[in-house]
């Protein structure tokens, strides 16, 4: 493992080393600006009075948030998005967790092939999944496009996400804990219920939160599988295509805040879980 002592402190180095490290630091700063400036502008413009958002800022207002809250169509789209996300999260988490158990413990040979199979829906661009599902629903199954087809579309990539996250966690699971439970008379079912599930709960929860986030934000697949009822991203998209509407910036800012809150919780849970299982592992006398 790399030791993180600044190499400049410990060894004779070339005379360029110091400027290299300084240059890299500057570059890192620039990149952070690059990554955050567009987002910052969006947030700032959501508080700007002008109808055509842009510099210079004409004045502070919460008007657009008010407009947003009064916009029935938008609120309905938000409601649709939340409903879809909730259903997707519950289904994807349950289905994905079950599959992860089989994948890690089911003695499946060619596990690498199985991993590729689960990687594909994540890696294949959304447009392809979207149009393939559109043909499938509209031309083969003759299903009307609705929020049901949207949920189905979201499951294609959220289930693999949950599988990968939970499987990664199960892989690192110390099975001695389960054997101990069995020694003490627990049935396999009880051992899973009382030992395994609580310990992998952080991964499951993180999977659920990530599913919610991905589902709420998903635009491309939704765009092809959505019927008359818009979700928030498809609504925002049509608004943007009609022209600049300042309330979109307000919606974007709120959405950003909610996403960050969700991810923050997910990250916190994951790191808590890691710390917990780390402690358990350390407590065990080493063989």
């Amino acid at each position: 493992m790399a030791n993180r002592v600044d190499p400049l402190e410990t060894m004779p180095v070339s005379r360029y080393a110091r400027s290299v490290s300084r240059g890299l630091r500057l570059w890192f700063g620039l990149m952070m600006v690059f990554l955050y400036v567009p987002i910052l502008f969006m947030i700032v413009f959501s508080f700007d009075e002008s109808r055509t958002p842009g510099l210079p800022i004409t004045g502070f207002t919460l008007k657009w948030y008010e407009v947003m809250l009064g916009n029935r169509v938008l609120l309905r789209a938000l409601g649709n998005s939340l409903t879809v996300a909730a259903i997707v999260a519950v289904l994807a988490t349950t289905i994905g967790t079950m599959a992860a158990f089989v994948l890690v413990r089911g003695g499946i040979r060619r596990r690498n092939a199985a991993r590729i199979v689960f990687t594909m829906p994540i890696m294949v661009p959304g447009v392809l999944i979207g149009v393939a599902l559109l043909i499938y629903f509209a031309r083969v199954l003759h299903m009307p496009l609705s929020l049901v087809t949207v949920v189905a579309g979201h499951l294609t990539f959220t289930v693999p996400f949950v599988v990968l996250i939970v499987a990664a966690r199960l892989q690192g699971f110390d099975r001695a804990l389960e054997w101990a439970a069995a020694d003490l008379g627990a049935s396999p079912r009880r051992a899973i219920r009382h030992i395994v599930l609580p310990l992998i709960a952080p991964a499951i929860l993180a999977g659920a939160l990530i599913s919610v986030t991905l589902s709420i934000d998903e635009f491309v697949i939704t765009w092809f599988t959505v019927g008359a009822q818009a979700t928030l991203p498809t609504y925002i998209y049509t608004q943007i295509k009609f022209g600049v509407t300042p309330e979109v910036n307000a919606v974007a800012t709120v959405l950003l805040g909610v996403t960050l809150a969700f991810l923050g919780v997910a990250a916190l849970i994951l790191s808590r879980g890691r710390a917990l299982s780390g402690r358990l592992r350390r407590r065990r006398p080493t063989a």
Binding site: R109, M123, P125, I165, A168, L255
Partner: protein
Amino acid sequence: MSAEIVGGAAVAPPTTMTIGRGARLRQLAPFLPAGVILIGLFFAPLALMLVFSFWQTNEKLDIVATWSLQNYANFFDNPTYVRTLAKTIIIGAGATVACLLMAFAIAYFLARYVPRRWATIALLAIVVPFWTSYLLRVYSWQAILGEFGAINQVLMGLGLISEPSRLFVYNDASTFIVLVYVYLPFAALALYASLERFDFTQLTAAQDLGARPDQAFRHILLPQIRPGIITACIFVFIPILGEFLTPIMVGGANGLLIANLVSNFFRNALIPEGAAVAFMIAALVTLLLIVFRRYLQIEDVVARG
């Protein structure tokens, strides 16, 4: 296709234990819902798309099931389509190289010069934009490049131009910038994950043994982080093959990429034609994934959120 491998392997008994077929099936049962989703909502639709791509559309926009390679032939006969495909690959490759170089400097800095605790926080800060809405991230660039965007306002404020210019948006350059912006976090994550495992004292050792810094870099560092480099390339290049939002939002009238072609075919109800283009992209993506499967470390990028 590959799904059957899982199914096929599943029947085989595990390791040394001998258990009944019934018990084995019970053990595999929890996999069923995921299998149904994977096959029913992913592989089957893609396979059907392939079937449709061999069919035709008649004058009344009905789909007729006559099998031919006509849609593929038409695609390659149309110079505009071929140019769009070539352009997508060129822009994709260019954005991949740009992301790789930009992200490498970030990852190298974080892995070598920053204490791990801070590096983790910095990495989180890089990932956050990637987890926020893709639609909004693309849209937010209009606030900078657009007619009323920051660049125009600053230039007007400085008196360099008198009215908003459309020079900064609706062209290939703006598409390129936004693509790099959108996919940079992927590359940074993938590269950091492999640089983090690299022992930098090896570079010093190589130099002690007489290697020039660039030799040490090329022969010691690069081979060891190859999986990270490949993962980064794949995570930037493949999504760009399917990128259709960025060209619509900030690209010009001629700035369409290959996925826009698919979406336009579908909008005009030319489903077999669209399916043919979509399938070509899907085949390319699958090929890349299979060729590079050994190096691809998806968990490094995905499971870090």
